[in-house]
C-alpha cells in the first residue's frame, strides 16, 4: 500500500522533471554568442530526480544509491569490486596507499621504492606517489598518443622499482601489451589511472581491467559525473578490502554507515595487541583517510551510468568528426593518434603545434578563446617544472624532451557528448579562419 510520503515523493519527482524542462534543457547553439566548452555536465531530469530522491531519503552517507552505483560500475567493467571515493585524485591516493599495506607482506610498497610514471599528465597521478614517500621515476611520452613511450620503460626499471602507475592520457590507452609484459616480468604492481578513459578499450578489453588496481574520476569533465567523485576498481578481493579500509579511516571493519557486525565477528577477534574481542568497528589496520562518496553523489551516478554507453559513442563520433575536419591543417598541427589496437573513448581532442611553422600555441589558443572555443593545456605539461614539484625526490630516466614539447606546444579542445554537429562545425570553422588569416 502506498503511504502519503510515497505519494508526496512521486509529486516532488514529477515536479523535478518539469523543473528540468524549464531550467536546464539545453538551448540551441547561438553562433554569435555562445561559447563551445571543452567539457560539461550532460544530464536530464533523471539525474535531478535521483538527487532529490536521495535528499528525501536523507541517508546522506553511502547508502542505497552508492550500493547501486558501485554494482553498476563494477558490472560495466566486468570486475568484482568498485569502491567509490570523493574524487579521482582520492582514488589515486587510495590505490597507491593500499599498496603500502602491511597485509601485502613482501610485496608491499615501502618508503624509497620506485614507481614508474610520466611527468606530462595530471598532478594527482604523481602526488600520491610522493605523499607515500615513494620515488617517482619519470619516463618521457610520445607526441600524438601522449602516452608513455613504452620503449623507454624497461630501461627505467631498477632493482628498487616496485610499481608502474600510468594514466591512459585523455582516454587514449597506453600500450597494455608491453606494460603488462613488463609488470609480469619484473613482478611490478600496475595501477591504471583510468580517470580520463572510462569506456576506452585495448584489444577490445576495457581499460581499467588490466592492472592490479584502476581508478576512475566522476568530475563533471569526465565520461560520467557525480559532481565530485571517483572510484577504485579491481578484481582482487584482498586489495579491495585494503582500499575500503584506506578510504574509511583505516578501519578493519567494512560495515557501511549505520550498520554493525556485517562480518559476524564484531566482538570475537584478536587484533594487534588490543584486548581480545575489542569492538571491530574501531579496529584500525591501515593508516587511512575519510574519502567516502555521499549517497547524493551516487544518486547522480546511478542516472549517469545508464547513459555511459551513449556518452562513449558520442565522444568517439565527435572525435572522428573533429579529426576528419582538422586533417587539412596537418602541416601545422600534430593531430591525436590512437594507440595501436585501441579504441579510445576520448576525453578530449589534443593538438600539438608543429615547431617550425611560425605559429605558437598561445597564438592559436588565444584566437580560439576569442572566438568562444574553449581550450585547455594538456594538464600540467612537464610536472617537474611546477613550483610544488621542483624539490621532490625523483629520478628521470632518459630525457623528458617530449614532455617539454607538450608543455610549450600542446593544448586540447573538447569532444564531450554535449557537443552537437553545429558546435563541432563551429569549432572547425574557427580553426579554418585562423589558418586563413595567416
Amino acid at each position: 500500500m502506498i503511504n502519503n510520503s510515497e505519494i508526496l515523493k512521486e509529486q516532488i519527482l514529477d515536479l523535478c522533471k518539469q523543473y528540468y524542462e524549464l531550467k536546464h534543457k539545453p538551448d540551441d547553439f547561438n553562433i554569435n554568442k555562445d561559447k563551445v566548452y571543452y567539457a560539461g555536465r550532460v544530464f536530464d531530469y533523471s539525474e535531478i530526480q535521483n538527487l532529490v530522491s536521495a535528499s528525501l531519503d536523507f541517508w546522506l552517507t553511502a547508502g542505497q544509491y552508492t550500493e547501486e552505483f558501485e554494482f553498476n560500475l563494477a558490472e560495466f567493467l566486468g570486475l568484482s569490486n568498485a569502491i567509490t571515493v570523493n574524487s579521482g585524485s582520492s582514488a589515486n591516493l587510495v590505490a597507491i596507499t593500499a599498496l603500502t599495506s602491511s597485509k601485502l607482506k613482501d610485496r608491499r610498497l615501502k618508503s624509497g621504492d620506485e614507481v614508474i610514471t610520466v611527468a606530462a599528465g595530471f598532478p594527482s597521478t604523481v602526488a600520491p606517489i610522493v605523499q607515500n614517500r615513494l620515488i617517482p621515476v619519470f619516463v618521457d611520452i610520445e607526441l600524438g598518443t601522449y602516452n608513455v613511450n613504452t620503449e623507454l620503460v624497461e630501461k627505467a626499471i631498477s632493482p628498487e622499482t616496485k610499481a608502474i602507475f600510468l594514466a591512459h592520457t585523455l582516454g587514449n590507452p597506453f600500450n597494455l601489451d608491453i606494460i603488462m609484459h613488463l609488470a609480469k616480468k619484473y613482478n611490478l604492481w600496475l595501477i591504471e589511472d583510468n580517470c580520463d578513459a572510462l569506456g576506452s578499450r585495448y584489444k577490445e578489453k576495457l581499460t581499467g581491467t588490466f592492472g592490479d588496481l584502476a581508478t576512475c574520476s566522476f568530475y563533471p569533465a569526465h565520461h560520467i559525473t557525480t559532481g565530485e567523485g571517483g572510484a577504485v576498481v579491481c578484481e582482487d578481493e584482498e586489495l579491495a578490502k585494503i582500499c575500503k579500509s584506506v578510504r574509511d579511516w583505516g578501519r578493519d571493519c567494512y560495515c557501511v554507515g549505520g550498520e554493525s557486525n556485517t562480518c559476524g565477528k564484531r566482538f570475537s577477534q584478536q587484533y594487534g595487541t588490543l584486548p581480545y574481542g575489542y569492538d571491530h568497528k574501531y579496529v584500525y589496520s591501515e593508516i587511512g583517510y575519510n574519502l567516502k562518496m555521499t549517497d547524493l553523489q551516487s544518486a547522480i551516478g546511478c542516472a549517469q551510468i545508464k547513459k555511459l554507453n551513449s556518452f562513449i559513442n558520442k565522444r568517439i563520433n565527435n572525435f572522428s568528426y573533429l579529426l576528419s575536419r582538422l586533417k587539412q591543417f596537418e602541416d601545422f598541427l600534430i593531430l591525436p593518434q590512437a594507440t595501436e589496437f585501441s579504441d579510445p573513448a576520448w576525453f578530449a581532442f589534443p593538438i600539438t603545434i608543429k615547431n617550425n611553422k611560425g605559429i605558437t600555441r598561445n597564438q592559436i589558443t588565444s584566437y580560439l578563446e576569442e572566438n568562444r572555443v574553449e581550450t585547455r593545456n594538456l594538464f600540467s605539461g612537464n610536472l617537474l617544472r611546477h613550483p610544488g614539484f621542483l624539490n621532490i625526490e625523483h629520478r628521470v630516466s632518459g630525457m623528458l624532451t617530449n614532455s617539454d614539447i607538450i608543455t610549450n606546444d600542446t593544448f586540447f579542445i573538447g569532444c564531450y557528448p554535449g557537443l552537437d554537429e553545429i558546435r563541432l562545425n563551429y569549432i572547425c570553422d574557427v580553426f579554418s579562419s585562423f589558418f586563413n588569416s595567416l
Binding site: 528525501l56 531519503d57 536523507f58 541517508w59 547508502g63 542505497q64 550500493e67 547501486e68 558501485e70 554494482f71 563494477a74 558490472e75 568484482s80 569490486n81 568498485a82 578481493e237 584482498e238 579491495a240 578490502k241 575500503k244 567494512y254 557501511v256 549505520g258 550498520e259 557486525n261 556485517t262 562480518c263 559476524g264 565477528k265 564484531r266 566482538f267 570475537s268
Partner: protein, 239 residues
C-alpha cells in the same frame, strides 16, 4: 569483498529436515552481484526501508552456487533467538531481505591439497564450492571430513556422493555421532588426531574449517599444534 547489494527475496522452497534444521531457497527480486563459493549473506525477516537502518539480521553461508544468482540456498539450524524466530515464522512465498556477498572464506588455496573439515551446517560453504566445481576438471586434491549428529542432518550428501563418483581427486569421510549401523559412515565425532594421521603422506595442504565455534577452535589449535602454519588454515567463524 565484492560490491554488496541488498535485495528483497521470496522464499520459494522450504523444507524442515528436523525440528531445528531447515533448508530454504530464496529468489532475489533484484539483480544481485555474483558471489564466490564460501561467501555469506545477511538475512532479515523484517522489511528494509533504504532510508532507514538495516534491521536485525543473521549471517548465513550461501549453500549453493548459482553464477546467475537466480536462487540462493540457505541451510540453518536453530542456534539462538534469531534462528528460532526464523524456524517459528518462515514460510514459503514469504518475503525476506538479504544483503550480500561478504566474506573471504573463498578457497584460494596456496597448495595443491585442500582439506575441508565440516561440522553440521558448517558444510554449507563447502557445498557451494563443490557445486561450483561439479562439472569441471579438478586441479586440486580435495579431502572432505564431514561430521553430523545423525544421518538426516547430513545435508548435501547427494551432491557429495555425485562428485565422488566423477572426480577421482575428491575423497570423503563422513562421521555420524549417532550411527545407525550403516557402514558408509565413521562413528563418533570428528577428531583432529585421526584426520591429521590420515593426511600424513599428502604434504602441504590448505585447511578449511567450518562449523560450531568450539569445533573450529579445537581443529584450528590441533592443526597449529601439529606444526602447520597459520597461513594454511582458513576458518569460517562467526559469533
Amino acid at each position: 569483498m565484492s560490491v554488496v547489494v541488498k535485495s528483497p527475496c521470496v522464499v520459494i522452497y522450504l523444507k524442515r529436515i528436523t525440528e531445528t534444521l531447515t533448508i530454504i531457497e530464496l529468489q532475489p527480486l533484484k539483480r544481485l552481484p555474483k558471489y564466490k563459493p564460501g561467501q555469506f549473506l545477511h538475512l532479515t525477516l523484517d522489511y528494509y526501508d533504504p532510508a532507514k537502518n538495516w534491521p536485525e539480521s543473521r549471517v548465513f553461508s550461501i549453500a549453493n552456487y548459482d553464477p546467475e544468482v537466480k536462487t540462493l540456498r540457505v541451510i540453518y539450524s536453530v542456534k539462538g533467538k534469531y534462528t528460532k524466530l526464523m524456524n517459528d515464522n518462515l514460510q514459503e512465498n514469504q518475503q525476506v531481505w538479504v544483503k550480500m556477498p561478504y566474506g573471504d572464506f573463498t578457497f584460494n588455496s596456496i597448495t595443491d591439497n585442500m582439506i575441508f573439515i565440516a561440522g553440521g551446517t558448517g558444510i554449507t560453504p563447502f557445498l557451494s564450492y563443490l557445486e561450483s566445481i561439479k562439472y569441471k576438471i579438478p586441479d586440486k586434491n580435495i579431502w572432505l571430513f564431514y561430521g553430523a549428529k545423525e544421518k538426516n542432518c547430513m545435508v548435501g550428501e547427494e551432491l557429495i556422493d555425485d562428485i565422488v563418483l566423477v572426480n577421482p581427486r575428491f575423497k570423503v569421510k563422513k562421521y555420524l555421532e549417532y550411527k545407525n549401523g550403516n557402514e558408509r559412515y565413521e562413528m563418533g565425532k570428528l577428531e583432529a588426531e585421526k584426520i591429521l594421521e590420515e593426511l600424513q603422506s599428502i604434504g602441504e595442504a590448505d585447511f578449511y574449517i567450518s562449523g560450531p565455534p568450539e569445533m573450529i577452535q579445537y581443529f584450528k589449535q590441533s592443526i597449529i599444534d601439529a606444526g602447520i602454519k597459520q597461513e594454511f588454515i582458513h576458518i569460517d567463524a562467526w559469533e
